[in-house]
């Protein structure tokens, strides 16, 4: 059963072939047995999961089951779960048990889905390799049998690795600069970052508020659509959430792609991309041409400025968002503080890891008197230019396609000593967050036995079009079905 998709499991439950209790047991047993190889979970909520599965079976018996009733999945440990430790991958919150649910968490609860636990992640979602987690790095299931400990990508590395290893069929994730798409690409699964404002951020621990967006990860595009059906929608608790009707994202999966206009941003097919990677992406695009799509080159002239702008705006917002972790009300507090200043400085020095500290420092600097105009204001101007690039591109084409990453999963430790090299992992994904448009990562073949991801970028609120395009590719290719050794 563990190799089946959410859609398949839902049908199995509906047919009565298996109960949610049995299914949940099977996945929990797999996690217990296998996850020591991957470290993809921070918390496993076994008792709660079994109780929820029992409730789900009862609901089904009463004829009150929906698509998600009794289907196991996992939450990235950035979504607050009432009564269950929520760490954001940090020592700072290692003991934090929220007394409330994130809206995303509550939505899955209401849908009857069974959460098996909380997945590992880069600390406060800051990272592209899952190596900044206080709970240790996650191993990418791909290449592991060769003895290579490769990164799963980040920050949603735990969710991606758990799905790739078939420990869960689906998991929630978040994307601030590529944190869904990059790990989805590196782990050979399918992930979607929705339009900013499509999914509520309430209860999702903030990294950079104007860029953070909750999204979906699963093996298939169809499962991503099923997840987004649960997650998307207006939330009165989040004033940046958009009040706009939510379509049934599964309804349009089978629309034909005849006449789909695909744009290839020339800036994303640069010399940063290895020829082998480029070949895989171009192969995937050819599949679309066979499906009736047209392809043309387009330009995102300001894309090259995206990383620089992002690494001003995101740390600036983070520097304020993370001020609340001060040892006063919850979370980590240093031993025997001598006075207020000591409480603050030692709590934060001991509670945060080095990447988080680096970004707080960068953000604090960028906002300081005398530097604000040169950094923060300038970066916001660049951001508007990048938004305009996308708006212009979508006047010519329906979707943009590009690689997700410049190269496949790298070996752990390879980039930790050089933050800038690490930041360049997100060179193709970050502009999307600055613009706020939706984008997916879809499996598109292999290089040296490691998965490659195709990025499909859409216009604002056109998640349905992306899912349709991804689903159609998955009807004619089997890259998403490949299992790591």
């Amino acid at each position: 059963m563990h190799k089946k998709s959410v859609a398949e499991l839902s049908r199995e439950l509906e047919s009565g072939k298996i109960s949610s209790v049995e299914l949940t047991r099977e996945f929990l047993d797999r996690i217990r047995a296998e996850d020591r190889r991957y470290n993809s979970f921070i918390t496993i909520t076994e008792d709660q999961a079994m109780a929820d599965a029992k409730t789900a079976d009862e609901q089904r018996a009463e004829g009150k089951a929906g698509v998600w009733t009794g289907v196991p999945f996992a939450h990235k440990d950035i979504f607050c779960t009432n009564g269950v430790t929520t760490t954001a991958g940090s020592k700072m919150l290692a003991n934090f048990v929220p007394p409330y649910d994130a809206t995303v968490t509550a939505n899955f609860r209401a849908a009857g889905a069974v959460c098996l636990g909380k997945t590992n992640m880069d600390e406060f979602a800051m990272g592209s390799s899952n190596e900044s987690s206080f709970f240790g790095p996650v191993n990418n299931p791909w290449g592991l049998s060769n003895g290579d400990k490769r990164v799963p990508g980040g920050s949603s590395g735990g969710s991606a690795a758990a799905i790739a290893a078939r420990l869960v069929p689906a998991a929630t994730a978040t994307d601030t600069g590529g944190s869904i798409r990059q790990p989805a690409a590196l782990c050979g699964i399918t992930g979607l970052k929705p339009t900013y404002g499509r999914v509520s951020r309430y209860g999702m621990i903030a990294f950079a508020s104007s860029l953070d967006q909750g999204g979906t990860m699963a093996r298939t595009a169809e499962d991503n659509a099923l997840m987004l059906n649960v997650m998307a929608g207006f939330d009165p608790k989040d004033s940046t959430c958009v009040e706009r009707a939510v379509p049934d994202y599964t309804a349009t999966l089978n629309e034909p792609l005849n006449g789909l206009r695909i744009g290839l941003p020339k800036e994303y097919f640069s010399d940063q991309l290895s020829p082998a990677m480029e070949q895989q992406i171009r192969n995937a695009v050819k599949e679309y041409e066979k499906l009736g799509a047209s392809v043309k080159e387009v330009s995102l002239p300001h894309a090259k400025l995206a990383i620089a702008a992002y690494y001003v705006i995101a740390p600036a917002e983070a520097s304020a968002n993370l001020s609340r972790f001060d040892g006063v009300r919850y979370g980590y507090r240093c031993e025997n503080p001598q006075d207020l200043n000591d409480l603050y400085t030692r709590t934060r020095a001991e509670g945060f890891g080095s990447e988080v500290k680096r970004r707080i420092l960068v953000g604090t600097y960028a906002l300081s008197a005398g530097y604000f105009d040169a950094y923060y204001l300038k970066a916001q101007k660049v951001r508007r230019l990048i938004q305009q690039d996308f708006i212009n591109a979508f006047k010519e084409v329906d979707v943009l396609m590009s690689p997700v990453t410049p190269s496949p999963a790298f070996v752990q430790g390879e980039k930790t000593s050089d933050p800038v090299t690490m930041y360049l992992e997100d060179v193709f994904t970050i502009a999307v967050n600055l613009a706020g448009v939706p984008a997916m990562s879809v499996p598109a073949g292999f290089v040296d036995g490691l998965p490659v991801g195709l990025q499909i970028i859409g216009n604002y609120f056109e998640e349905a079009r992306l899912l349709n395009a991804a689903h159609q590719l998955q009807q004619v290719t089997d890259w998403h079905q490949k299992l790591p050794q």
Binding site: C80, F96, E317, A320, L367, Y376
Partner: protein
Amino acid sequence: MQWDIVIGLEIHAQLATQTKIFSGSSTAFGAEPNTQASAVDLAMPGTLPVPNEQAFRYAVMFGLAVNAEIGRRSVFDRKNYFYPDLPKGYQTTQLDHPIVGPGFVDVDLADGRSKRVRIHHAHLEEDAGKSLHEDFDGMTGIDLNRAGTPLIEIVTEPDMNSAEEAVAFAKKLHSLVSSLGICDGDMSQGSLRFDVNISLKPKGSEELGTRTETKNLNSFRFMEQAIAHEVERQMDILEDGGRIVQETRLYNGERDESRSMRSKEEANDYRYFPCPDLLPVVIDEAFIESARDLLPELPDERKGRFKAQYGLNDYDARLLSDDARMAAFFEETASHGKDAKLAANWVLGEFSARLNAEDKTVTQAPITGTQLGQLVARIADNTVSSSGAKKVFEALWNRDGDNADAIIEAQGLKQVSDTGALEQMVDEVLAGMPDQVAQYQQEIDPKKQKKMLGGFMGPLMKASKGQGNPKLFTEILLKKLSD
């Protein structure tokens, strides 16, 4: 050397909304510590602010009342600093795009002049919690009930030139926000807090001197004292050839002393930037008009009406119109009292004196405007003398009776105005005082005569058990003595 005093004020007014500016928690004062602090107020991870529409409405009402431009696109910023009673590590406030733009308030001064004080702007922000330094044995307690209470911070131009002007403005502002119903105005509970910026410059000079800011003055008396104290301090320094340090000072009203809190150099770099959790709020014409519809009669309008409707002089009209509750009390009194000027005298005289003596507000008074009005009516129709009326007032105040007529009856305070009875009393009293009568009749100086007349009034009032109408007694006496 002669100095010009330059004063500008910053006023924090707590808005009287039911719930906080960015969460659904109650704003009621006096609850057990931390019982009105939700996950949002505690800045729990992942929680988000949602703006309270009523706070915007109140701010717009204030803007309209001070003749200000309303900011059509209102933006919130984060002001970053660490303090235990600031849960998020930043205060959500407005820097460059406040909700209320430039406006002005006209203030009447005691000498009859009117002073225009310009409002630079007013912005919405959230209050911090409270740090409790007592009761925790060397530690500090944190109460977050107040955290997130909506404030408008009102910033004036440096348009005031004396403590008197600053206090008059402050009182006017207090009356304005109370009349609007957007702030309960209770200064003892911190609902209205004043920061005073003061500088001196050589008389007539165009260039402003270095200023200091004295923070958190929560009574008009302390404000007046603090200004006097700071002006004197600065004057001493300047006249000794010293220089004023730009700094924030704390004033201790009990001891009439102040100390430096922090200098400009020590001031935080607040690293303001637009709050990404809150989108800009667009205020449209319809919202402004709906707020305008909610505006009650404002003190300036009311003063004009009191003069026209009740024939009051400017001074009385101002005293009665500044405070909405005082104005309402007066109008209730006048509506029952037949004589509006007399009603005004009693409200501003006996009634106000009594409130002051007992440190009570109008709403805490033990008598109603109707009760006082009924008494005023009895004075107006000569049923009771003014000295008798004071006794009735006393009884009403002490709740020894609930209406003037019953008290007049019970205490026998009804004035005797029957001229036949009064004449008889005059005859009897004069018959018992022949020497004084003779003396009076021989006196040629009318002034002395008038004084001697008083000598007969005492025994007459005694004979009438205080109930004789003094005016009639005088008339009869004059007639009898000149016969």
